[in-house]
């Protein structure tokens, strides 16, 4: 029930710090501590704010709405054999659309400033999140076809008990896809780099240039939660739901740690795509998802029986 949500929040506290640590170790720097991002949030929460003359109430509401949308979509995720806080059929549609709701507000919040930079970020974000959506839905459609269930809780509860050992192939594909989707949804490499210094090459960061203080803190919280949420999804697609609770909790934390380290290492050694290549890169994910779909068609003997 609520345990999954608590674990997500707990891992969200450490997730960004671990990424930072991994990056600084990889680049040979001393670097900040694991809790530095949390300290930053605390500092931001205490700060005052400057609002642009151009902005309206949309700009005031946008970070709030995005964070609320993030938290709400978290509620449909299951943990192990425990159902989600609220589970219903096709809840992954809700999950995806709720996240889109948050993005909608981030985008119009950026447009509200009337800045050319933020318009640039807004249209990139709108395009990329539109392009990544099909991959997620093909993946979930394949899960639904494979298990015969349509909610996160039921799908993951039944994914590993179908007695079809070939499903491990699909499990690996979904692992790869979910990691890539997580990177894109969180605006990380190779699509976007949070550490860019030039506005012209930013995607997500340039949208929130005018946010400061409390609102900036809300945006950061949303990002970290999003990491942990996708981490939880990845966990559910890899670890069988039937295992015992203590195993689950332990593996969950290890998994989140590994994910964060992987992201840190990937970002240390990987270059960022050229902006024009991004659309192609993201669409490739849908193609890979389609390959996964065909594989499931084969292993369930719908194709070539």
């Amino acid at each position: 029930m609520i345990l999954g949500t608590i674990l997500i929040i707990l891992s969200a506290v450490f997730f960004p710090g671990i990424i930072l640590r991994a990056k600084s170790i990889a680049s040979g720097r001393k670097g900040p501590g694991v809790l530095q991002p949390m300290k930053d949030i605390l500092v931001l929460l205490r700060k005052g704010s400057v609002f642009s003359h151009t902005t309206s109430y949309i700009f005031q509401w946008a970070p709030t709405v995005s964070l609320a949308a993030m938290i709400t979509s978290m509620l449909v995720l299951p943990f192990g054999k425990y159902d989600a806080f609220l589970s219903f059929e096709a809840d992954f549609v809700f999950f995806s659309y709720m996240l889109a709701f948050g993005k909608f507000f981030t985008i119009i919040g950026a447009l509200d400033t009337g800045s050319s930079f933020e318009g640039m970020g807004a249209n990139r974000e709108a395009l990329y999140s539109m392009l990544v959506e099909p991959a997620f839905f093909i993946l979930m459609g394949t899960f639904a076809m494979f298990t015969g269930y349509t909610s996160f809780s039921d799908i993951f509860a039944n994914f590993f008990i179908t007695n079809n050992h070939l499903m491990i192939i699909f499990g690996l594909i979904s692992l790869y896809l979910l990691i890539q989707i997580m990177m894109i949804e969180n605006s990380r490499l190779p699509v976007d780099d949070p550490k860019t210094h030039l506005e012209l090459t930013m995607v997500h960061e340039v949208m929130i240039l005018d946010n400061c203080g409390f609102d900036k803190a809300l945006i950061h919280m949303g990002t970290y939660l999003k990491f942990a949420t996708y981490g939880s999804l990845i966990f559910a697609s890899v670890v069988p739901a039937g295992w015992s609770l203590s195993w689950q909790i332990g593996l969950f934390l290890v998994m989140q740690f590994l994910l964060a380290t992987t992201i840190g290492l990937l970002e240390s050694f990987r270059a960022r795509n050229k902006m024009l290549k991004n659309a192609q890169f993201i669409l490739t994910l849908s193609a890979i998802a389609l390959v996964g779909f065909v594989i499931v068609l084969i292993i369930t003997h719908k194709l070539m029986n």
């Binding site: 909608f104 509200d112 009337g114 800045s115």
Partner: protein, 663 residues
Amino acid sequence: MTDAAVFLILLVLSAGVFIVPARMKYVYTLSVFLASLVITSQWAITAFQYQNPIIISHSSFLKIHLPVMIIDRLSAFFILIINFTMLTGLVYAGGYLKPYQKSKTPVQFSLHFFAYLWLCFSMVMVTLMQSAFNFLVVWELMTVSSFILVMFDAESRPVLKAGINYLVQMHIGFILLLVGFLIAESVTGSLSFSGLEAYFSQKPNLPLFLVFFIGFGIKAGFIPLHTWLPLAHPAAPSHVSGVMSGVMIKMGIYGILRILGFVQDDLLTIGVIILIVSVLSGLYGVMMAIVQHDLKRLLAYHSIENIGIIGIGIGLGVIGLATVNPVLTVLGFTGGILHVLNHSLFKSLLFYNAGSVYSATHTRNLEKLGGLIKTMPYSAFLFLIGALAICGLPPFNGFVSEYLIYLGMFKEISDVGLYEAILLLLSIVGLTIIGGLAIFCFTKAFGIVYLGQSRSEKTEHAVESPKIMIIPQMAIVAVILLIGLGSFMFIGPVAEISLNLFKLDPGSFNVQTFAGDISRLSIIGGIFIVLTIGIFLIRRYVLSKRTIEKGPTWGCGYTAGNERQQYTATSFADNYSELAKPVIGGRKEMEDIGENDYFPKTRKFETSNNDGIQTKYIDRPISKMVGWLKKLAIMQTGQIQHYILYAFVFMLVIFILTWFNII
């Protein structure tokens, strides 16, 4: 139930709008309309309580032979939608038409109101008529009255052109419907809907269905039959666009559903055809919408998109019927029919809102707008709700219907065979892309029209619309929220429409347990709203203790930025239009900067997007045909001798042909 004769009296009374004094015309129209609303809504509510269709009784005291009118749940559902949208449209018109009082004569107003009333009457009657003749008469009345409404501003040339285009295209559809009924009549001898039922039980179903599908599809706006929509909607006054897009194009959907109720064979092929056409309509509609600069044209393309979503639901339902799969049937049809209601709400809202923007700024060009949220806060809020709803985002109503369609597809994908599974997956992808593009489009529309800074002097004198234009929009928002948060109350009755129409066993699909699960959507929607407000209250409390300053927007060190540096509608859609170029076409015209151009000078940059289907498949063949016909005009010499010669040659040919027994 009220007597049909009372309704007849109202039809006669509508002519009174020509007689009453000018300042009373609006009130008179409103009262006639309200009377009709009360009567027809009462019919509809009564019909909802019965399983079987009921005949609307009429007394014989008028000694007039009234046509048989039968109302079932499907008709009742459409009547309620028509009444609500026509009501909000008429109230809104009370404010929207005010500025025209100086420029238009009372006769023009009378004609406009008369046509408005008759659009309402004819749409209601379309859902009730049983014999083909009566049906076609009221169908034609609907076309003509909407044509008159579109032509309100007929002094302007584009309006005139759009109006004629609309009239011509509607009559192509009309002829197809007529042909369809006549084909059925030639076999069964009955010129009515029941004749169709008899025809479908004897003859191959697919050809006749396709005739009707194209005939009704022109009204509904499926591609490639949609080309009248993006022309007619911007041309019409905004309340008319709202009503036309909100309900009138749905009459095409009504027709398709009605015909589907009789189809007995070839269901799988029909379902697949509807599904493919719908997915393509949805994609093409939204893809074209993004690159539009005209706010109402953008909304018109979104109507095509939403008709596509409705069609996806219907197509899935038909596939469910064909494969004897009650879950898919009910979910598909329920999603599709519920989306008819949902679209009528948010699309009329958005069109009214576009009308408010137009009234305030006298432009529909996105590039000239911006920053209106400061002068028109209510309108901005209403547009935002409409935009969120049309993007299908929870917890608004658009999500509910799209969710049902998704649910049908995801639930069935594991039970069906290979080809169906692939088809379902591709439809899922289609619907997902439609959703993502809709978000792209409406963040652009809302952001460019209402947010940022003004892009031209047009918005300088913008003021908030009068209450009479705001209140109908608020009423629509209330219903949007009601459906979005209370979806479990609506799904049962809507599901019963399709169970009823397709004579399915109500026990085959338990609406009740399904509606119980659906109530979780409401719960989680509620949680989201509470969370949002909660976080915002905390934020307000915290910020009240901090120092808040006002400053300029971050300019990366450049502080002399002005509104010309903002993103425009074109630049926002630029990366998308590069990507979608193969489908949407589009031209950019600019002079290159030469090697020695060191100093800035005035330059021109122009972008344009034409509807490829319009130019390639309609304009080009027509201009070719006109070319051929012009060549034939050589024979038109204007000299009487030549014409006598033609007649003589004609007779000679006839004579020779008869001589050789050829004719």
